[in-house]
Symmetry: C2
Subunit: 480 residues, 2 copies
């Protein structure tokens, strides 16, 4: 490494650049960077120069520092091998983007399979829009979304979840994830605290932390978040918002009781924070329990309701929406504009047409019927496995089962064992904000598997649980 | 305003909340907040409490402070009146989202009109995809985009702009704006400096500043950015990247000379910054001049090429792309995933089919023919007006003319006068990062007007230029 002290480029930038290049070119065999004193002596520069260079490297995620120990290089993947996929492997498998290994039974993905998509009806809607609107269909719609679709969604909300919201308070987004990203853009200032359920959806955490939020997990219980802890965290951290899923929470599958919903609203009103309510599965309810979203109880415009149609309709249509509190309506719409101007007006028109023609009811009844059958089968099969010490709380809806493992079985080891036996599952640990609490779960999804696969998959799981697990030690784990 | 000193909520938060509510409810008649000393005395609290409350209000854009003068309330619009449109009025008119006033001639919007959209051909592609792929068309594609489309685009780049880029280094985005947003997400850390042409595209500035970038404008000249100043700014600020449009820059319509392109690349290599090259109009070239993008000269992976198809194809298809330097490929793809998972696989398949069927060539030849006619007409008409002291440099491509006004005519006053006479134009000032430099221009777009409207519009402009402008004083201006 050589520095040019006459250059216009500050020395710390030169040091930073040199080390960055070495890291990217895999030239550094050591895991640890030299100490600040050693390197500054070696290069004949001030300590501060090295401190600033290391800081920059850490900011940019090339290294991490361990207090009292030193600065370490993060493992860099070689992009030519497309190994960025490895790092987010699990996340991609879960969202259905990365195909699971061939011949493997897919208990990992919560994306629906294509055979449940109402293609014939949607094609009719698409063609009708083309014939009716011609080129108009491909102009920009309003930023907040094609007005007739916002009207249809307002009606949809009233009919399905019993709450009234004006079409002007609805923003159409390109799926639920974009809703999260835009909310993060609008609400989070660098350094803000926000609260999430623990465990929670990793895609939400990624959107929040990219804005510099400090994310604090609040344990999730069978009937919703731990209210006592939530209250003390709210007092301590003054969060901008709390992010929750009131029905069939991901990954736990738990739904909130009416009391907990009420308690959260009261807290939000008292301490003046927003509640982001993410809803992607409410429509898949197999029981008669009250699944009213929190938003329907919100009288003070404190709840931002985000809905994704990816799981209950089709991911490729990329349509979701966000309800907008009047206070920040303008800011959220501006954030949408600088994000991608608008969502596709053509797909919005087609989805509006689909809803207006009345196709929705038939579709949602059909998928409920199909998933209910799969749900009944997988729970029946799983119940047999309780003798091995596993347990779960029947969600009676949604697409997954959250299975608690007995203490002696580690979810990561079980994941590896299953993988070797052509069964894809998700170790629960990947959903937790930290590892300090009880996280010994696996998540089994039944959305993307046939009846035969459910029976075979549970049989594979049984054969593994029957035998004590070998300790797999340092085996490769494609962690999130 | 009353404070609860026994509450768990810090006093400065209480003060902040109270003032915020008063602002939102329009209860504060004064424009200026009380001085820190006066308010702390009145409330019986420490100065620091008020300082922190005011800081928070400023961070959240409710107030702004003027050094040595005090803290002022920003004008808050009432969201029920949808007046968020007012603030960004001009920007929305320009992007074609907000319809211009009825009976007005539209020299403002650079969006194409629907009659130029190749609806029949695109419908064939859509239907073919539905018949061929069925439900598969609505699954998630790869995050970086549907592989065959990336292949088609790689071929498109080679055929049209003479540069080779592997399909694995292409990311499909939902339009060019999303490309900018994702690049900002990946590259900008809070407080980073970045350089832009001055004037430039306001949507880019919005995406960059939302990530906390310090944006510095470098004057734009007839043959590209001011290289001497660029060099000195690069030395001074060590920018993360520079954002430029090499062909038919927005708003100036200027294109870069080969020499300036070379000089920028050399600088980027020497000082190690990225060049974001935004291309949305290269395909509309009426002359034979070399319009090769900078990217085709880039041997060291320093140029990130962003392409939008909104202006040259259809905005509603929401397809654009970004080329990915290997060094940050993984980070950009991750940023895309947390932004909206993927862009619509269905529209990507249809656009791929459209390109493969060979429809593109016919389409782009047609729009070139149409726009060339309009270009010839508007320049012929405008030339007549040079007697009134206006001037412009013929861009010989693109969708706009950047007209320099004589000193005695102010672009804002001219804008207002035109508006009263049913002519929509854009005052150049809205595109500048500051007002310290020569910014007395108007931009006239000919993309959305008929031949008759061009003639009539220029006649209106002439009738205004013929008469000395009345001073309009404080008239309402829907500024960006």
């Amino acid at each position: 490494m050589s520095l040019n002290k006459d250059s216009n480029i500050p020395l710390y930038i030169q040091v930073y650049e040199s080390i960055k290049s070495l890291i990217l070119e895999n030239e550094l065999k050591e895991e640890k960077l030299p100490s600040i004193r050693a390197l500054s002596k070696y290069l004949g520069v001030n300590n501060v120069t090295i401190v600033n260079a290391y800081k920059l490297l850490e900011q940019e995620d090339y290294v991490y520092s361990v207090k009292g120990s030193g600065t370490y290089i993060k493992k860099i993947h070689n992009p030519e091998e497309l190994s960025y996929l490895e790092e987010g492997h699990m996340e991609l498998m879960v969202s259905g983007i990365l195909p699971i290994p061939k011949d493997s039974i897919n208990f990992a993905s919560i994306s629906p399979t294509a055979d449940l998509f109402p293609i014939e009806e949607f094609k009719k809607s698409l063609v009708k829009v083309l014939d009716r609107d011609g080129g108009q269909a491909f102009l920009y719609p309003e930023i907040n979304g094609y007005e007739p679709l916002r009207e249809s969604i307002s009606k949809f909300l009233f009919l399905n979840y019993d709450f009234k919201i004006d079409k002007e308070q609805i923003l159409i987004t390109s799926g639920g994830q974009q809703g999260l990203d835009i909310i993060a853009k609008t609400l989070i200032n660098h350094g803000d605290h926000i609260l999430v359920e623990n465990p929670t959806y990793s895609g939400a955490m990624a959107a929040f932390s990219s804005r510099g939020a400090n994310i604090i997990g609040v344990p999730m219980k069978e009937d919703g978040i731990d209210i006592r802890l939530l209250k003390s965290f709210v007092r301590k951290y003054h969060p901008k918002f709390i992010y929750i899923m009131t029905n069939y929470q991901s990954p736990t599958t738990y739904s909130y009781s009416h009391e907990k919903k009420k308690a959260i609203l009261e807290l939000a009103n008292e301490y003046n924070f927003y509640v982001i309510e993410d809803d992607f599965l409410t429509d898949l309810s197999f029981g008669n329990k009250d699944k009213t979203p929190l938003k329907s109880m919100d009288t003070k415009d404190k709840v931002i309701f985000i809905k994704s149609f990816s799981k209950i309709f089709m991911p490729g249509v990329r349509i979701g929406f966000v309800t907008l509190p009047n206070n920040i309506l303008r800011d959220i719409i501006k954030a949408k504009h600088t994000t991608d101007i608008t969502s596709s007006g053509f797909l919005q028109r087609a989805f509006d047409e689909y809803l207006r023609t009345g196709y929705w009811k038939k579709h949602i009844e059909r998928v409920n019927r199909v998933y209910k059958q799969k749900y009944d089968l997988i729970t029946k099969e799983l119940d047999r496995l309780k003798v091995y010490g596993i347990d779960y709380i029947p969600p009676n809806g949604g697409l997954c089962i959250w299975v608690k493992l007995p203490k002696e079985i580690d979810s990561i080891e079980l994941y590896n064992e299953c993988r070797e036996n052509n069964l894809s599952i998700v170790p629960g640990k990947v959903f937790f904000t930290d590892h300090s609490i009880d996280s010994n779960y696996i998540r089994l999804s039944f959305g993307a598997v046939s009846s035969d696969e459910i029976v075979n998959g549970i049989n594979i799981l049984e054969s593994i649980l029957m035998n004590p697990l070998k300790n797999k030690g340092n085996e490769y784990l494609p962690f999130i």
